[in-house]
Each structure stands twice: as C-alpha cells, then as structure tokens.
C-alpha cells in the first residue's frame, strides 16, 4: 500500500519506514528531511510550512505513479509536516520499498526532487529580524 499524508504532528520516521515493508521487497530507503538552522548563511529561528492540502495529496500520488514507471519499486509512503517546525525537526519523510536497494535509492532521490518542484507546500523562514516565504523555481506553467 502506498500512502500520502500531511500532518501538523511530529512524524515518527520509523512508523513511516516500517509501513512500507512488502514481503517481495528487500530494501526500504527512507529520507528524513529536517529543518536546517542556516540557509545561505542566515540563521532561521524556526520554519512554518503551509500546504494546499487536497492538491498536495493529488500531486504526491501523481509523482509516485510516475516513479513506479521510472523505477523498479513496489511501494512508497510520503508524510509531510505542516505548521511550525523547530530546527532539526523532521519536515518530510519519504520511504521507498523495492526488491533491490539501488532502485529504491534512485527513486527516493527522484521523488524528493519532484516533490520540491511540484507539490504545493510552502515554507516560511522566520529569522530574528524578519520572515520570508521561500519561493522555489517556478518551472511549472508560470503565468
């Protein structure tokens, strides 16, 4: 079973990873993405993530459908946090199960790259002296 979730609660990495353990597989690669303290030399106090929830889930499903065409993988789970996150807290977990590890590593990298490009979630960096919504690379149907 694949699964796609948004949550404002802390994410248990193990619970995501161990939900993707089909018997025909031999490896699950899990990405634990977390909040970095310094971005381009500037210190963040904390981050705030906001999602267009209904569309974010649809886009996650689409990119996993595509990943299954591109890579020999079996199952994928994606859980993304929303709301306020402190430094070091997990913002996204992606677990990819595959019969063999190489496909799982490659697919996990591909999925996080696509997620950052297409899934409608935004982060705001809050600094000691201000805050800023981070704008990604607008490579999809820009106006």
């Amino acid at each position: 079973m694949d699964f796609f979730e948004l949550t404002s609660d802390p994410i248990s990495i193990e619970s995501v990873a161990r939900r993707v353990v089909p018997p025909q597989c031999g490896a699950t690669v899990t990405l634990d993405g977390y909040v970095r303290q310094f971005t381009k030399g500037r210190e963040s106090l904390y981050l705030v993530y906001e999602a267009y929830e209904a569309m974010a889930i649809k886009e996650m499903k689409k990119l996993v459908e595509q990943a299954k065409k591109n890579f020999e993988i079996s199952n994928v789970g994606i859980v993304h946090r929303t709301g306020r996150l402190e430094i070091g807290e997990t913002s996204v977990v992606i677990s990819v199960a595959a019969p063999h590890r190489r496909a799982a590593f490659a697919a996990c990298e591909w999925i996080i790259r696509e997620l950052k490009r297409t899934v409608p979630i935004w982060k705001k960096e809050v600094y000691a002296d201000g805050e800023c919504w981070v704008e990604g690379d607008a490579s999809i149907t820009p106006i």
């Binding site: 993405g33 993530y49 267009y52 950052k116 919504w133 981070v134 607008a138 106006i143």
Partner: protein
C-alpha cells in the same frame, strides 16, 4: 457565475485573505480572472506565480466554470 479563489503562503499575505469569491462572466479564462484579481491586489504582480484550477496545474487559456476553484500561489518550496 462565481469561482472560489484561494491564496497560500506569500500570496495569502499579499492579498490579506486566504480565499474569496470572484464573479465572472461565462467564457472567462484564467488569464482574465487573474487580471481582475491583480486589480484588487496589485502587489501579487511582484511575484512569479503559478495557478491551479480544481487542484490541477493548468494553462492560462483554460475557461473557468461556475463553482471552479482557482488557486494562486508562488513556486512551491516544500520538502
């Protein structure tokens, strides 16, 4: 006809609202709806924007229908 316009993150801050109804005439496409929205919220123009109709990325000549959901947002930055 009426569509529901949604804003997120930077666009919600610029508009000062998270959603609003927008009355449109039939045959209005996304591009002309956006022009109306820019008139109300000129500061949105300073951003490079993406949009989605009914939760799908779409092209600006897409015609809007009554009850559609039009979301306007900056390039995504999740992960």
């Amino acid at each position: 006809m009426q569509v529901r316009v949604l804003f997120f993150g930077a666009t919600a801050d610029e508009a000062g609202v998270r959603s609003m109804p927008l009355s449109i005439s039939s045959q209005t496409d996304v591009h002309s709806a956006l022009e109306e929205i820019f008139t109300k919220f000129p500061r949105l123009r300073s951003h490079k924007l993406l949009y989605a109709v009914n939760q799908e990325y779409d092209s600006s000549d897409r015609k809007l229908n009554d009850g559609d959901e039009l979301a306007i947002f900056t390039a995504v930055s999740g992960g």
